[in-house]
């Protein structure tokens, strides 16, 4: 196993880690709003959030590619004002993954928040606690299984994505070449042994992540029924 191999794997894990962390920060407020709002816009936003579940990843990748391309006014504006270029860059992969994995973070968090009795939050306020204290000491600890679900599913899903990253990032070693794309390329070049190395690692990693997910769920059930 050579250096580009590890580089590709490292890039894949980096992408999944950044996506998971950023998506938690972005997804939590969105999930909180969806769990508590009575706005008529809720169904529209929920549908938008869930769209990546049903759309072919290439469709998302295609539109992101168009939006971010320097030929598009928005992409040009991003480049000229902020010096950001999302097309064929690691940053672009992260943005694409944020969109693609959005429902995997938001839906578990939303379910967890909807299941949390509102009286717990109100009880915390009645004890003089701020919104931040209530969030960190009451809300987050009591929706722990949902946090784990969101984080693990987002991570695993980002590790496995192909269409979006291919469309927006291409296949630049060390920059945008992630494991799923490397497998495709190795197979195309008839390098089955190398493809096997990537594929086997992805199978084991995904399995371990799901095992962790179900173990945590089981632990929580036991904790709740103690």
């Amino acid at each position: 196993m050579n250096e580009p191999f590890w580089q590709t794997l490292l890039l894949t894990l980096q992408l999944a880690t950044y996506t998971t962390l950023l998506l938690f920060l972005l997804g939590f407020p969105l999930a909180y709003w969806l769990a508590h709002t009575r706005s008529r816009w809720r169904r529209w936003i929920e549908s938008l959030v869930s769209l990546p579940l049903v759309l072919p990843p290439t469709v998302i990748g295609f539109y992101l590619l168009l939006a971010f391309s320097p030929g598009n006014p928005f992409g040009r504006w991003l480049h000229e004002v902020f010096g950001i270029q999302f097309v064929f860059s690691f940053a672009g992969l992260v943005v694409g993954s944020l969109v693609y994995s959005l429902p995997f973070m938001v839906q578990p968090l939303q379910a967890g928040l909807e299941g949390l009795p509102s009286q717990l939050v109100e009880a915390s306020y009645m004890l003089g606690k701020s919104r931040w204290q209530t969030l960190t000491r009451v809300i987050l600890p009591n929706i722990r299984p949902s946090l784990w679900s969101g984080a693990i599913l987002t991570f695993a899903h980002t590790v496995g994505e192909f269409g979006v990253v291919l469309m927006i990032g291409g296949n630049i070693p060390g920059q945008t070449r992630v494991a799923s794309i490397a497998i495709f390329e190795e197979v195309e070049s008839l390098h089955y042994a190398q493809a096997h190395q990537y594929a086997a690692i992805l199978v084991v990693l995904s399995f371990l992540l799901l095992l962790a997910f179900y173990s945590l769920n089981q632990q929580h059930r036991q904790w709740r029924n103690r």
Partner: protein, 289 residues
């Protein structure tokens, strides 16, 4: 600490999918008073507590606590629940399931507060043995005591109790009635208790208000609004034995399980009245008191 007079004149319109509920209430709560709010389900009892607690932001009107203003819609003043120093015990207790009993109490401790109060409260309320248990491991009565202790830690100026005994069986309920009365007496804490149990009203209330469709339909002392319908017997007080009261009625001596009463124990041989209610007997010094 002297308790403030609470004055409220509030209105709240709640629109459901099928119905509209309108709460319109003006009330004064005297310092140190135990006010019971009663009424049918959906009459606005819990909503009134929530308005007083500051959990209903859409409520209109004024609420004053002594000289401080909790709410004045005309001046757009709304003091959030965190700053009202109001203790609220929810019907379902709302203990934090991720914290042990001790941690639940510690969480309620204001910044810089002494942890000694937690140890003392746990001792007084008989919670020391339960300190390391999580709420789901406790019985309903135990959870209720923890919830009460937690509400008392911040030394509230007003204690709101939303049907705190409704989920408990008869024995536990009568025990906790005593517990509530003790808390009220010891702290002279202005308390608003929501209940629809007539026995509880007679046992605990200094004054009762009855709600109907979001408005006060009756107000007065408990025995005027809820006269005792059950049979009453006169006897002589012979003291307590094994937690039961002995009363001599005519030639016979009877032993009765007593619910708590507001006054100190009668003297030996003193004339007393026993009311045999649906849920047990309770003692009075004068008939129809």
């Amino acid at each position: 600490m002297a308790q403030p007079l609470i004055q409220a004149e509030v209105a709240l319109l709640l629109k459901g999918k099928k119905s509209v509920f309108n709460l319109e209430i003006a009330l004064t709560i005297e310092p140190g008073e135990l006010l019971v709010v009663t009424g049918e389900s959906g009459s606005g009892k819990t909503t009134l507590l929530r308005v007083l607690a500051g959990l209903e932001k859409k409520a209109r009107g004024c609420i004053f606590s002594g000289t401080s203003i909790w709410q004045d819609s005309s001046k757009k003043i709304f003091v959030p629940p965190q700053k009202r120093k109001v203790g609220l015990v929810f019907q379902q207790y709302a203990l934090f399931p991720n914290m042990t009993v001790r941690e639940n109490l510690l969480y309620a401790l204001p910044k810089g507060g002494s942890k000694k109060i937690i140890t003392e409260l746990m001792e007084v309320k008989g919670l020391t043995e339960l300190a390391d248990n999580y709420p789901p491991q406790l019985s309903g009565g135990q959870q209720q005591r923890v919830a009460l202790a937690r509400a008392l830690i911040q030394k509230p100026s007003l204690l709101l109790l939303d049907e705190p005994l409704s989920a408990l069986d008869f024995t536990m309920r009568s025990r906790l009635q005593t517990f509530l009365l003790d808390i009220h007496r010891q702290n002279q804490l202005t308390t608003v208790l929501v209940t629809h149990n007539e026995d509880e009203i007679r046992q605990l209330a200094n004054r009762v208000i009855c709600l109907k469709d979001g408005k006060i339909s009756a107000e007065g002392i408990p025995n005027a609004l809820f006269p005792i319908k059950q049979s009453t017997l006169k006897g002589l007080w012979m003291g307590m034995e094994k937690n039961r009261g002995k009363v001599k009625i005519g030639e016979n001596e009877v032993s009765v399980s007593l619910l708590d009463h507001h006054f100190a124990s009668p003297l030996l041989g003193e004339e007393v009245w026993i009311d045999f209610g649906a849920e047990g007997a309770f003692l009075q010094k004068n008939k129809g008191q």
